[in-house]
């Protein structure tokens, strides 16, 4: 099967084509995988150690990848993952052209997004105003939680459509903080 991949490492994004090739007789067990990345064929052996933790042998080298849901992406985007390999963290979007009816990337086609409180806390400072344009990673507000002040940043660029909270407000986990258009 052929997949389109969007990889983000820091601020650098790149597109890739991955094909997982059909199993063939020479492959010793179900965990042996032959794949082609940008048309280059390679073999890997994959063990799922625990849910989301993969031990991958590739070209004789041993890697471990930890796949989780990224912070800052709506729960609707089922195909975006945060992947940690060694010390590096990537955001990877996996798209199967056969399955996806509408075109384009989920990260780019989001529409308005509600930024919600990841945990209970108190709003210490609001760093933006309604109608302000913000860039990805720009600070939106400062929240005090777990005895520390933490800055919530924009998961993507856009316009601040609505701010639901004010400085000094206590918020519950999941409370709406602002809407990004």
């Amino acid at each position: 099967m052929k997949l389109e991949i969007k990889l983000q490492a820091g601020s650098k994004a790149s597109k890739h084509h991955l094909e997982i090739l059909p199993r063939h007789a020479a492959q010793a067990d179900m965990k042996s995988i032959r794949f082609a990345l940008e048309g280059r064929t390679a073999d890997a052996h994959v063990e799922e150690i625990s849910p989301g933790i993969y031990s991958i042998l590739l070209g004789g080298r041993s890697y471990e990848a930890d796949v989780t849901r990224p912070v800052g992406i709506p729960s609707g985007s089922q195909n975006v993952f945060a992947v940690t390999v060694g010390l590096r963290r990537y955001q990877v979007e996996v798209r199967d052209p056969r399955r996806t009816r509408r075109g384009g990337s989920e990260i780019e086609n989001l529409g308005p997004q509600e930024i919600v409180a990841p945990m209970p806390g108190k709003i210490v400072r609001v760093l933006v105003q309604e109608n302000q344009m913000v860039a990805r990673d720009q600070g939106l507000l400062v929240m005090e939680a777990m005895k520390m002040q933490n800055e919530l940043r924009a998961p993507r660029g856009g316009r601040v459509e609505k701010i639901y909270v004010g400085e000094g407000w206590g918020v519950e986990s999941g409370a709406r903080l602002l809407r990004l258009g």
């Binding site: 989301g52 912070v71 990841p118």
Partner: protein
């Protein structure tokens, strides 16, 4: 010696104090808030008493409830750990009144050293060096502005009752002063119920070097060398080492003698720490004194070979110190990393949650002080410290290599941690060379330590493959690798689907 001690704290430090008790045959009493019933310190203790709801003001800071637990259990002494009531003279006095020994310094020493301005005054009067600044609380913005202008920018605004980086503001220009003054006062009011602030000159690229002291009730007071704590993020120490890469025997002796002198000014006994800033010309200045056990005490224990908690017990029980100054020697080097449940890739945002899997470092030279276990949920209500990993090596180089090895072995699944951040830091050229100052971490973070430098094509391939396989498994795709009929795996996948870590955003309905 005491036969039963109550530990008025939680988490790793409560467990650490109980370990000393166990080795000395002392019975242990834990206290816990409603959300800590399943915490490690409660499971570890011989006895445990609930002291109220989750907010610390209703539990770990409730002197009456803690003393009640002490009396019900028959504990003869209370160890306060660090934080919470550890530097609260009122608590020490209440223990006295209840006939229970407070394992700490005399109340008068706590009071003198607890006030940053009073302790500065005492140290100045003794002719010892302090960071240039004011020695009294500043009452008005006009006074602050005038003194800051006299002193010259940059300046630091500090809370008089401060600690832990709260109520602390660096001001680089007069235009920033008014808002800094307001926020420092309001933070100080919120954190310490005392809005008073004072000013200090900001030194360029200072190191934070502190001296461990230890004294008994018979007038003996010695120092146990230094700790270098220059690696700080937002004024909070994150990694400490002993010895400091820049101290020589002469400077160590001078700083040690000054620390002992300051301890004597306060009539100090118990373990304590005198903090100094060290400037580029190796001049040192008194910063403040902490009248308790420090978070980072393990690095001193590893290098000096003295168990500070046991010595605290002995001193509190009236015993004499078992060491003279000339008996204290530093051997090898130690490092400590404070492992927090926070996400370095997301601006160090706290990441509480269930620790679904935990594999801990082991092998030569490793010490781990932890308050967690696999299957435990890190509560939202407290500081998200998971553990402190400390290592010992014959020299700094071996200690660094050992720490890198230990952190690579450390596997904490279910929450994000700052371990990847430490692993990067341990490779940083300036860190390896020992070129440290209190602004070091902020600078390397600003330069993108957690960012994109050092790209690896292999890691990218692995990330792409892992994500693609993971996506397939979730969708139950029949493509290879075909799902095996393994019910454990199926259950694992289902639990994953039902327990997505909560994201920061969601789409509106």
């Amino acid at each position: 010696m005491f036969s039963k001690i109550l530990i008025a704290n939680r988490g790793e430090i409560a467990v650490r104090v109980m370990r000393a008790c166990r080795e000395m045959g002392i019975r242990t009493v834990a206290v816990y808030s409603d959300v800590d019933r399943r915490s490690l310190h409660v499971r570890y203790a011989d006895e445990a008493y609930g002291i109220g709801p989750a907010p610390s003001t209703e539990s770990y800071l409730r002197i009456d409830r803690i003393l009640d637990a002490a009396q019900r259990s028959g504990a003869e002494a209370i160890h306060p750990g660090y934080g919470f009531l550890a530097e609260n003279p009122e608590f020490a006095r209440a223990c006295d009144a209840a006939g229970i020994t407070f394992i700490g310094p005399p109340v008068e020493a706590m009071e003198l050293m607890g006030s940053k301005t009073a302790s500065r005054r005492a140290v100045i009067q003794a002719g010892l060096p302090v960071v240039p600044g004011t020695d009294h609380n500043l009452e008005s913005f006009e006074e602050v502005a005038r003194l800051a202008a006299e002193m010259g920018y940059p300046v630091m605004l500090k809370a008089s009752s401060g600690g832990g980086g709260k109520g602390l503001r660096l001001v680089t220009a007069p235009s920033e002063l008014e808002s800094a003054y307001r926020t420092a006062r309001s933070e100080a009011q919120n954190a310490f119920n005392d809005p008073s602030v004072y000013l200090e000159k900001y030194l360029a690229r200072p190191r934070h070097v502190e001296i461990q002291i230890l004294g008994d009730r018979h007038g003996n007071l010695i120092h146990l060398g230094e700790r270098e704590c220059s690696l700080q993020r937002r004024h909070q120490k994150v990694m400490e080492e002993c010895p400091s890469p820049v101290l020589d025997e002469d400077l160590r002796q001078r700083m040690g003698e000054t620390a002992v002198h300051i301890g004597k000014l306060a009539g100090y006994w118990n373990a304590g720490t005198v903090e100094f800033l060290l400037d580029l010309d190796r001049h040192f200045y008194f910063l403040e004194m902490n009248t308790r056990l420090q978070v980072e005490h393990p690095v001193t224990e590893l290098v000096v070979g003295i168990d500070l908690v046991k010595e605290q017990f002995r001193v509190a029980a009236g015993e004499r110190l078992r060491w003279r100054q000339e008996d204290v020697h530093l051997r090898g080097a130690a490092l400590e990393c404070r492992v927090y449940a926070e996400d370095p890739a997301n601006n160090f945002f706290p990441s509480p949650g269930l620790i679904s899997r935990l594999q801990v470092p082991a092998g030569p030279g490793i010490r781990r002080d932890s308050g967690v276990y696999e299957g435990w949920r890190i509560p939202l209500e407290y500081d998200p410290l998971i553990s402190k990993v400390a290592v010992w090596g014959t020299d700094r180089k071996e200690a660094i290599a050992r720490m890198s090895r230990a952190l690579a072995e450390y596997e904490i699944v279910g929450v994000q941690t700052n371990v990847p951040f430490f692993r990067r830091l341990l490779e940083h050229e300036d860190f390896l060379a020992g070129r440290l100052d209190t602004g070091f971490i902020d600078r390397v973070l600003a330069a993108g330590l957690m960012g994109e430098e050092g790209h690896s094509e292999d890691d990218e391939r692995v990330a792409i493959l892992a994500a693609a396989l993971h996506a397939q498994r979730q969708q139950g795709s029949p493509s290879p690798p075909a799902a095996t009929n393994n019910s454990w795996k199926t259950a694992g996948r289902q639990s994953l689907l039902h327990h997505w870590p909560r994201g920061l955003t969601r789409t509106p309905r």
